[in-house]
């Protein structure tokens, strides 16, 4: 079962009310390579992956949910108390008429999240290679959002999230090494 802990993984700060950045950031909330897709992908693949790497998928899925909460916090803070006029000026007029300033699982273009963003092929190598690709795509998405953002506090949090993609990618690569190893147990020390 799950327990909630009343703290973010990283101290998220945002320096200005800026709905435009929220619009870009939502790509990592409900987009194809976003944190929701990541969390659900690993959470679902864990049931059929070999036992040796279940723990890794489980724990990375947990961390992705913490990242989803960080992204949500950023979006929430960037749009909190923004007026309808500000939302409209930021290109969020269509979001506003459907959701006010509520968060929603869609990408930066407003396309709702769909399960077709993720896969569970049942073949451990195919699934882990998808996971590695997902981490690299999420890393790239963070890069492009950082390029678009002039908020140093926001970028601080985004750089943390980008670095986590690097670490997750490495762990999935190690999982592949473990599964392809003949002895069935990678022993390098």
């Amino acid at each position: 079962m799950f327990y909630y802990e009343k703290k973010l993984q990283y101290p998220v700060r945002v320096s200005q009310c800026n709905p435009m950045l929220a619009k870009f950031l939502v790509e990592q909330y409900g987009g194809a390579d976003g944190e929701l897709a990541a969390a659900l992908r690993y959470m679902n693949q864990r049931y059929t992956i070999p036992d040796k790497v279940i723990g890794l998928l489980n724990d990375i899925a947990m961390e992705e949910f913490s990242h989803l909460e960080m992204i949500a916090t950023m979006i929430y803070k960037l749009t909190k108390d923004a007026t309808p006029e500000m939302m409209k000026a930021a290109g969020l007029g269509d979001h506003y008429v459907a959701h006010d300033s509520a968060l929603f699982y869609n990408n930066a273009s407003g396309v709702p999240w769909t399960a077709s963003y993720i896969q569970a092929k049942g073949d451990p190598i195919a699934d882990l290679y998808e996971d590695i690709a997902a981490e690299e795509k999420a890393r790239a998405t963070y890069q492009w959002i950082i390029d678009m953002s002039d908020d140093p506090d926001l970028n601080d949090g985004l750089k943390f999230l980008r670095e986590r993609e690097v670490i997750h990618s490495l762990r999935f690569r190690e999982a592949v090494e473990i599964l392809k190893d003949d002895q069935g147990k990678k022993k390098i020390f």
Partner: protein, 87 residues
């Protein structure tokens, strides 16, 4: 919401985030390096450090976890504001 969290809240929270981050990082690492004795030792030490910090944090700022992983004060304060995305 008139209650404001004092600077000590942010300071202690960040200390907790830092030690818990070390734990997450070592946990993922150990999933693929189950025989790294030194890392396991560091993981256990960090876990103990985190537990002590949480006791201190909860004493000052109330329960961190739901479903019985933290004790409640009177009146019930497990669902008290502020929430992590609000601070």
């Amino acid at each position: 919401m008139t209650k404001q969290m004092p600077p000590e809240y942010y300071k202690l929270l960040e200390e907790l985030q830092a030690i818990d981050f070390v734990i997450v990082e070592l946990n993922l690492y150990l999933n693929t390096h189950p025989h790294d004795f030194e890392a396991i030792k560091q993981f256990n030490e960090a876990s103990q450090h985190s537990m002590h910090l949480k006791i201190e944090f909860e004493r000052q700022f109330g329960p961190l976890m739901n479903f019985g992983k933290s004790y409640s004060n009177y009146p019930w304060d497990v669902d008290d504001s502020p929430w992590p995305w609000q601070v």
